[in-house]
């Protein structure tokens, strides 16, 4: 597959987005490759046709409107996957939460190469939020936010398209763990029946809430994570949402 320029590279050449070395290499290839030259020509023809089309009204309207609350970006859906790292230790909280300022949360599906969103009709739904215990009470953690060794994380979930919720994760070393499953008994936000304490493995902690129609096989979930924590074996009617935290010492 490497004999030719890939499709995205051809687009980026047209857009002037290749760096100097990449562009030189691409143009050198094009000078000798009839196929790729034809593909580039086809892209340029499509470009010309596209420019003759009107901009869709929905896009014009979006440009004129403020962005939605940015929490909406935080979700994904797919299948059976995962949870917080081996770097995270599952703990039962013994202290009730205190009232405290809480913001909003969550993960960054697009950054993970999967923009989410499996179950139809739930694309804009945030279904898991994370909060860090502090002296003044739980504080929401933004995706990409920092946590430290020993921090205790609580989760809240809102039952999405499936009745079973599993919390799992992958830590900075690539270790995966499945922490537990339960069935929320209502559609409103509910706390997870356990919390997580950050261990001393540094790096990104990806905390997943996985939603399934039936109680998932934990071993299968973990095996999938270990294979590639970016995606997992999907089962129909399963979805997940991820929160990615940056753990520092």
């Amino acid at each position: 597959m490497s004999a030719h320029l890939n499709t995205l590279t051809l687009h980026q050449l047209r857009y002037g987005e290749l760096d100097d070395a990449e562009e030189v290499a691409a143009r050198a290839h094009l000078a000798t490759c009839e196929l790729c030259s034809e593909r580039l020509g086809a892209q340029q023809s499509e470009r010309a046709a596209f420019e003759a089309l009107p901009v869709p009204e929905a896009i014009r309207n979006a440009s004129a409107a403020p962005a939605p609350a940015n929490n909406n970006r935080n979700w994904i859906v797919a299948v059976a996957l995962i949870a917080v790292a081996a770097a995270v230790v599952l703990v039962a909280f013994t202290q009730p939460w205190q009232s405290a300022p809480v913001g909003t949360v969550i993960g960054d599906p697009i950054a993970r190469g999967i923009d989410g969103i499996r179950p139809k009709g739930h694309e804009d739904t945030i279904v898991v939020q994370a909060f860090k215990d502090t002296a003044s009470g739980p504080v929401a953690i933004e995706s990409g936010g920092q946590v430290r060794v020993g921090d205790r994380i609580q989760l809240k979930v809102r039952r999405p398209p499936a009745p079973w919720v599993t919390i799992a994760g992958v830590d900075g070393s690539g270790e995966a763990a499945v922490y537990g499953s339960w069935q929320p008994d209502a559609d409103d936000w509910q706390p997870a029946p356990f919390g997580l304490t950050m261990d001393d493995t540094p790096g990104k902690e990806s905390i997943y809430a996985i939603f399934t129609e039936t109680e998932p096989n934990r071993a299968a979930l973990r095996a999938t994570l270990l294979d590639d924590h970016r995606s997992g074996e999907a089962a129909d009617n399963t979805s997940w949402q991820v929160i990615i935290l940056d753990k520092v010492q």
Binding site: Q43, S63, V102, I110, I117, P191
Partner: protein
Amino acid sequence: MAHALTATIPKAQASHSATRTRCLVDVEALYRRYGDMVLSRCRTLLGNDADAAEICQEVFLKLHRYQDSFRGESKPSTYLYKIATTTCLNKLRSRKRRPEDPVAEPIVVPYTDTMLSHVALRDLAARITDLADEGTKLCLIYHYVDGMTHAEVGTLLGITAGAVRKRIRVFRNSIRNNPPAWLVEANEL
């Protein structure tokens, strides 16, 4: 634990922030610049103009919605390409059972170990809708449809080239051992 379960975060605080941020991404400008790429991508994966136009719009509306993520991208085309690909896969999942879906057509290629190279890939995305997980589908599409190397796919997905290679190998083994109907039909032709 029981105490923890009874503790609650005030709903108003736990729900989404009501604060709205000013739109910093000019979606229309991005559409004018990159719309042809996204539309072409959608046509390739979806196989018809109507769905492609619909999903193309959806991609840019997602960009509007998730613009905080977008602002961290060095190459807008890469970001949009990824969104377009995953959005198309979602679309294919939603329509996979429709009779007009071209996936039902047998594909005229020999069933060999190099089948995927031969399929090259008209309808590949649709044909693998039920046959692979999301990550594997992305690997297959970027590799076979777009002609990316394992390393290029890995870079795009944030995984190693070896992981890409493994995913593709496992998929190929799986369909060799349990060939889908369209492959069997093709083999009989």
